[in-house]
């Protein structure tokens, strides 16, 4: 048997070999971004016994508006210490896309390993106002719609289509928060029944508090290694056998909000359906979005969905997507899963989606 799995995307096997994340908290009051990242970077290297000198590329994901000033990624670099100078890049996107950029570079064979990191704090500002700035600046942003209201429009459309009910949303939240009880990094975890959750008041109809993600400060990092290097640093690397991302049109009034065609397409390109899936870590900030994503990826009942608790357990901006990849990799490393699907999203109502299939050998 080959030491490497068959690849749907790319031609060079690249594995997730290390993952670390900050404690997801409502408000990290003591430490600034650099101080949050330093221990995460130290852990992601230290846990596999390597240093920054062992990676040939560094890529990060973050966004200035969460920090309230331009060039927030620049000072964050000081958490790594890019000296001597390094090949380095930054995306104004979730760290999952930074991982994609690193994966692309690793395909070319010039380098064998890369560090990917990301950070996002929701506590310094008002996330509902900040995220409104992601919207069309002429037609949408001037109305300041908050992300929860936009998600609620999607949830109502899902109900109107007959595909799901409020009880289905509550069931997702109940299962996710229960699973989160065994995730030491979870911010919100509890054991409550669907019925208990349905007794909550609406935040905005048809979404109750349980269907919303928490506000989180967090950070995460991953090390990718190609070929034999992956085995040098990890007994059972989580190889990326498929990875793809797609975007939809922006205006939510020009989309069918009850489906996620970009996820479906990315999933097909990444070969999700080629073999059975054991674990799926879906970046669904709102409970109903997990239902849309599971349908888009045609996941069957046997798939363990969000065993980490998903974004309902902790939702650090620009990081929750990369954390889905990290959690999926952990499931591979431990042997708990042979094949896992990780998903990341960006933009209002699942506008942009990335799907990453991980396999152990």
């Amino acid at each position: 048997m080959s030491r490497f799995p068959e690849l749907t995307s790319g031609s060079r096997p690249v594995g997730v070999v290390s993952f670390a994340q900050y404690d997801n908290v409502r408000r990290e009051g003591a430490h600034n971004e650099v101080e949050m990242l330093m221990p995460v970077v130290a852990e992601v290297f230290g846990s596999i016994g390597i240093t920054k000198d062992d990676v040939g590329f560094i890529c990060s994901g973050s966004t200035d508006y969460l920090v309230g000033g331009p060039f927030s990624f620049v000072t964050a670099l000081d958490a790594v210490g890019v000296w001597p100078p390094r090949a380095e890049s930054h995306v104004e996107m979730d760290g999952a896309w930074a991982l994609y950029e690193a994966w692309v570079l690793l395909q070319e064979g010039e380098i064998d390993a890369a560090l990917v990191y990301c950070f996002g704090r929701s506590s310094p500002g008002d996330l509902s106002e900040i995220l409104a700035l992601q919207l069309d600046p002429y037609y949408l942003a001037p109305l300041w719609p908050d992300p929860t209201s936009l998600a609620a429009l999607q949830a109502q459309a899902l109900i109107d289509s007959g595909k799901a009910t409020e009880a289905d949303f509550a069931a997702v939240a109940s299962r996710s928060r229960r699973a989160a009880l065994s995730n030491p990094k979870a911010q919100v975890a509890y054991d409550r029944t669907t019925e208990e959750l349905l007794a909550e008041d609406y935040e905005v109809t048809p979404l109750r508090r349980h269907a919303l993600p928490p506000l989180t400060d967090g950070a995460a990092a991953v090390v990718l290694a190609a070929g034999e290097k992956a085995y040098e640093w990890c007994e059972r690397p989580a190889f990326i056998t498929g990875i793809d991302h797609r975007i939809e049109t922006h205006s939510i009034g020009a989309r069918d909000l009850t489906v996620s065609p970009s996820t479906t397409l990315a999933g097909e390109k990444a070969g999700v359906g080629h073999k059975g899936v054991d674990v799926a870590e879906l970046h669904a900030p709102y409970a109903h979005q997990e239902l849309i994503l599971a349908e888009a990826l045609a996941l069957d009942e046997g798939v363990s969905r969000n065993p980490s608790g998903g974004a309902l357990a902790a939702n650090p901006m620009m990081s929750a997507g990369l954390i889905r990849i990290g959690e999926s990799a952990k499931a591979i490393w431990s042997g708990q899963a042979g094949r896992a699907v990780a998903h990341a999203t960006s933009g209002p109502c699942l506008q942009q989606n990335l799907v990453c299939v991980l396999e152990g050998v």
């Binding site: 430490h31 650099v34 330093m38 970077v41 508006y65 670099l77 000081d78 210490g81």
Partner: protein, 164 residues
Amino acid sequence: MSEREPVTMMAAPIHLDYVFTAGVAQSKNLHGLEEGKFIGQRCPKCKKVYTLSRGSCPTDGVPTDEIVELPNTGTVTTYCVVNVPFAGQSIEIPYICAQILLDGANLSFMGLIQEMPTDEVRMGMRVEAVWVEPDELGPTMASVKYFRPNGEPDADYETYKEYL
């Protein structure tokens, strides 16, 4: 109605409020400033002393956790004279904006030079900090009003050439 000019521009004011956390290391620096003192932090690996550290050694990526109290004096490593007014800037132009290397520190920072004609500033000039009145001291760089020449002979280029 249609005789009016077509709409070509749109106002889109944005106002966002934030609360920043300085972090552990920066808070130590700020605490020093509040007491009228400069605080440096030494990297445990490279032993360099950083002023205004955000908590990490920029080259080693490790916490700079050793506190070093720095003196009030330093050297102008390089400078420029600003002749253009900036929004929110109340200093009278022209003014000197200089990189100042405090004695004992391994990193310079940008500071304002006053109490001298702008055309007499030079690289290597020795300066000292002038602080605001004690009751005006706060956890901010604004506690330092400006720097001014302290009368010492200019520093030799060799002593600061690595800190331009």
